[in-house]
Symmetry: D2
Subunit: 258 residues, 4 copies
């Protein structure tokens, strides 16, 4: 909207705060996505081939937690650097089409369109489970799924079975809506607290400073981010060091060292 | 130097390239730091309390690989957000002084000054091992160690034993120089290839464009970064997807989705 | 009962089958215990100090999966070899009393009596969560908890809050009954299938052979165990090798090799 | 030898002691095998496809540590239960022949014959690295490798390059001898101490009791095992609990509990 000059007032992109997206998107989405799928299906994660579409902050969280439960995680990506990170982090990386042939559970976390396409669903195995934990329900091409189905029923809450013309059964969870909100309770409060703190402090900042702010997208100030982090650590009973004056000076200098 | 107007020509900060610091600093330093300490000492990592000073890209790599070998990893940090990430990633976080009391192996990767200070060494246990894998040898306050020692000998190559006035023996590895270079062979070629590719492509860019560049610090162009990533993936036999035109359009829009 | 001559008929100890206790106890209990606690409390596991009482097959599963979700896991044990395994596997080991002082979530999986005792609960922090996933509800000394409480209420299903005389609130989950059955759906079918297969094949064996069997405890035949494993692998589409005649002969010999 | 009545004196199978094979075979072999291969080749483990032949105690150690360094681990097995454990532990399982086609590093830890056969080497990729960390050098069919090679040279210490008739280069490490002994320093002392303690205590036991012992294979007494474990924990400054009399009684009873 900013690029299209469609913004009519200043906005702070709270999601860009490190204490928001490092934590909420990674640890919150990671845990609650698995939680939602477990509650909907009661599958065993250990030994299961799980395809994670997207290796952004949410994708890292989901991939990491799925591996933590014993799953065999396959990552798909369109960004070469992220794909390479996934490989080096120990995950298998392949194209969406190849992943579709071998995966058992599919989770989209790209924020994009048709991360799971009709072409993918055409080659999935009987019994494949498909869920979205990214953004809108368009991450899965649901119309394509409906078009290839000869019948459709709810087998239990949040689990819809689509039977294809070639007799395979594909299971769409939570109508393709965010599965952690649809089938579980969303993020734990212990991670939302930081997101809400950023929102509250950002609103306070806007109230105080909006007079001097043009319409546009602003970032959460670094100081706010660090302050939220410090408060969170303190609430967990964890103390950390501060730089001494000497250390601060050294860090800013370029003349010392051999 | 740029802030001090001391730069006399344009510089490209290759270390800022994602295909450099995500990989070289994390996976390269992570593995080779452990390798250096293993070759110097042949310690068993499993069950050992390892203190990692700093949770930047190098610190993440070292902490992750040490845990991968079964170590109990403690992280120290001065940045609240990074400290919190370390906690959420499953590592114990405490102050340097507390860590000094319980640690068995200490690894500095801050790039800073005196990450291991005299105060820390004063409370370390008999047998503590101290190594640096960050930047200069000042990350460990070696003069403070020398000042508290009554004797000093090399027990094997790269392992110096300092006996303190209270009879404890502290082991400094590789004279506090980068332990992966001192006692092992540095980063594997499979990670340096990307760093060198960035350097070569950056030099080419400077040769072609230096006429239009003022003295200052420039970043590696995103396209170069992605190209290095793509080439690396191809060399590993890994294919990834590209966005379709529709997906690209969706990603740039703000009007779709419910 | 066998030791007391109290058995009146032959029994096959299905739980001793490798395809039972390696899988059901470890992967089943591991996942479903976390699932039960998550459903009851919606806590974030990442960064949380979780005390696992017992490092048998169930304890290994719970400890492994809790770490997989980012928790900081502390193990308590009475068996020195198991305690040492837990240490080498990367877990912190300490006495129950020390663990009680620092833990945030407590899970008993010993099959024993009062793994969480009154002495432990006397030093737990405000907000501590206590659950059992071992055997009977006596793993937690609930009468001791009741005796130290001035009030008691259900804050949500499966979560009972006990307020102590010194003002701390301790949360007992599922009345100390198996939390994976109380608050979740028990083990996934993908792990129970092997347990049930062992039970069915053992019953078949008893029907066929009981005439020749004295009262006593029998193990599941190794062949049955391997057969259940082979069938399970086949159902997952996984093929493995068999020894060639040469390899078999080599394995049984003691004369070859230098 | 016992089965063939070829034993002429009593033997204590020290390797069967839990404080031996749980630790030496798993944590010792796990770490030192990677160490040996790293010293010989300086490969980056992150992102590399590593095939581990055998999922016994040594295989578990190697697989676990390779994953801990970021490798993508494939396990081959002939035992269905162990294969299934590997799957549930998060490893890919396939036949040796399939693994040979996709692996980059091959490590045998079966104690058997020709775990890597000529058929396997015939389909390996150019650049494949082959090492043994199990028992004798016959785990790799070296004569078959020599037969398919048109030339052969040492490219660096412990690394022999075999060029096949179809132009592929296969790298055999340490002549197929135990790679942790050939190219590294063997197990760390922190794990051998327990193995040696078992050996010393077993010799003492034999000296005291041989008069009453027939030729045959004996196990290390459980008490010795627990004592070694307790001493080791104490040396690490770790305290654990003991069962109370009540707890002991409960454990042995079968009448309590609901």
């Amino acid at each position: 909207m900013a690029a299209d000059n469609a913004l009519k007032y200043p906005i702070i992109a709270v999601n860009e705060a490190e204490t928001k997206h490092f934590f909420d998107n990674r640890y919150g989405t990671g845990q609650s996505t698995l939680d939602g799928i477990t509650r909907a299906t009661n599958i065993l994660w250990a030994g299961r081939r799980v395809v994670v579409g997207g290796y952004g902050w949410c994708g890292r969280g989901v991939a990491s937690r799925a591996r933590g439960m014993g799953a065999h995680v396959i990552v798909t990506e369109v960004n070469a650097v992220r794909a390479l990170e996934a490989v080096m982090d120990g995950f298998t990386v392949m194209t969406g089409l190849e992943a579709a042939k071998v995966g058992e559970v599919f989770i989209t976390v790209t924020g994009g369109l048709h991360t799971i396409s009709g072409d993918h669903m055409a080659v999935m195995s009987d019994g494949a489970i498909i869920a979205n934990s990214g953004h809108f329900n368009v991450e899965i091409d649901i119309p394509a799924l409906e078009a290839m189905a000869v019948s459709h029923r709810e087998v239990k809450p949040y689990v819809e079975e689509y039977t294809t013309t070639d007799g395979r059964r594909l299971y769409l969870l939570g109508e393709g809506r965010l599965i952690n909100l649809a089938a579980a309770e969303g993020h734990p409060s212990a991670v939302m607290d930081m997101s809400f703190a950023n929102q509250a402090l950002s609103v306070e900042y806007l109230v105080k400073n909006h007079g001097n702010m043009d319409p546009g997208v602003y970032v959460v100030p670094v100081d706010t981010d660090q302050e939220v982090g410090r408060l969170k650590l303190a609430s967990m009973g964890i103390a950390i060091d501060s730089l001494t004056a000497n250390q601060q000076r050294y860090q800013e200098s370029w003349e010392e060292g051999t």
